[in-house]
Symmetry: C2
Subunit: 206 residues, 2 copies
């Protein structure tokens, strides 16, 4: 008998959580679309019907995983976004919201990896929905005056998500330098909008 004998009869809530945890690991290790219900059952040493008594499909497993983990992530991000220390003292430069949010995301490796574990259209749509949700929260923050421009919001959320994932999966990245560089980059990048909050994208020279 192994230390953790998955076949042992578990309370329903524990079994459900076990399925979720093992599925998340398999999705990340093999790519979400590669994983079948049979493989989740095999990894847990239980029968397929056992898995099906909790979830109707791997898509249902994914939906619960993303819903729970992203909801949890956004909940923990909230204090950063709404915290008093984000309000600049009069005359002082605002503390860096972008650096704080990016550092936070770098600490969320597991959720980021799950959010990037698939490649099909329905999976991509789920990631887009999360980024839109993140953007909706970011644009409410007065330290980032990006509410006027949907394109700017798309740029900032895409950058935060994809860069944090790339940094979290590439051991060669100097994360400290990356945080500093990203902070300077985004400050400079949103500069034109801070000078003119009504900016709708400057004209391009041809």
């Amino acid at each position: 008998m192994t230390v953790l004998d998955h076949r042992k009869r578990l309370p329903s809530a524990d079994r459900r959580q076990q399925i979720l945890d093992v599925s998340a690991r398999l999705f990340v290790e093999r790519g979400y679309e590669a994983v079948t219900m049979g493989e989740i059952a095999r990894a847990l040493g239980v029968s397929r019907p056992t898995i099906y008594s909790y979830f109707t499909s791997t898509e249902a497993v994914l939906d619960v995983l993303l819903q729970e983990r992203l909801h949890d992530l956004l909940g923990r991000l909230e204090p950063l976004l709404s915290g008093a220390r984000m309000r600049p003292a009069p005359g002082a430069e605002p503390p860096s919201l972008i650096a704080a949010v990016f550092r936070f995301l770098l600490g969320e490796c597991d959720t980021l990896a799950l959010l990037h574990s698939g490649g099909g259209p329905t999976f991509q749509a789920r990631r887009s929905a999360f980024l839109n949700d993140l953007g909706a929260r970011l644009q409410l923050n007065p330290a980032l005056q990006i509410r006027r421009n949907p394109a700017l919001l798309l740029i900032v959320t895409t950058l935060l998500d994809s860069l944090a994932f790339r940094a979290a999966t590439d051991p060669g990245v100097d994360t400290e330098q990356l945080v500093r560089s990203l902070d300077a980059f985004v400050r400079g990048g949103v500069g034109p909008w801070l000078d003119d909050p009504c900016l709708d994208g400057p004209p391009l020279e041809e």
Copy 2:
């Protein structure tokens, strides 16, 4: 008989190309990791041994696809990166290399979709390798003085790739506004490095 009868005996090179084209479509439609050699055979109406006589695995199909299409893409990007019109006239602001590269990527929907069709670690490693290759070419261009900072290069390449993919797959995006906004954003973002090419990331206030 259908208009395109895949079972017809084809010259070897045509059959190989047919397998590549159908596989690329399946990878994008279903997610790379979901596709098996049997499904590629079924989609073409040929036997599995026929597919195996050309490729040993779906990974081998993917490698050839990425190698051919990304090499082709980088080849077509080269004139943009090295073209004479990228050299600014004395005293004039340089034409926007970022806007030009981003517009180019937006026109490469199929290759972008393929490059984002997987979610497993080996797939992600392939995308990272391409982005590093893109970065190596970008940093040679004098119009973008980002050669001094690997973090800045990581930021710009990640942003270009992920944003172009997100824009190409979301019909709600106003691409014209996005190009203008991205151009202003990146110009502002690289500003601190243009002022000080030796910048290694400014200190963050705590």
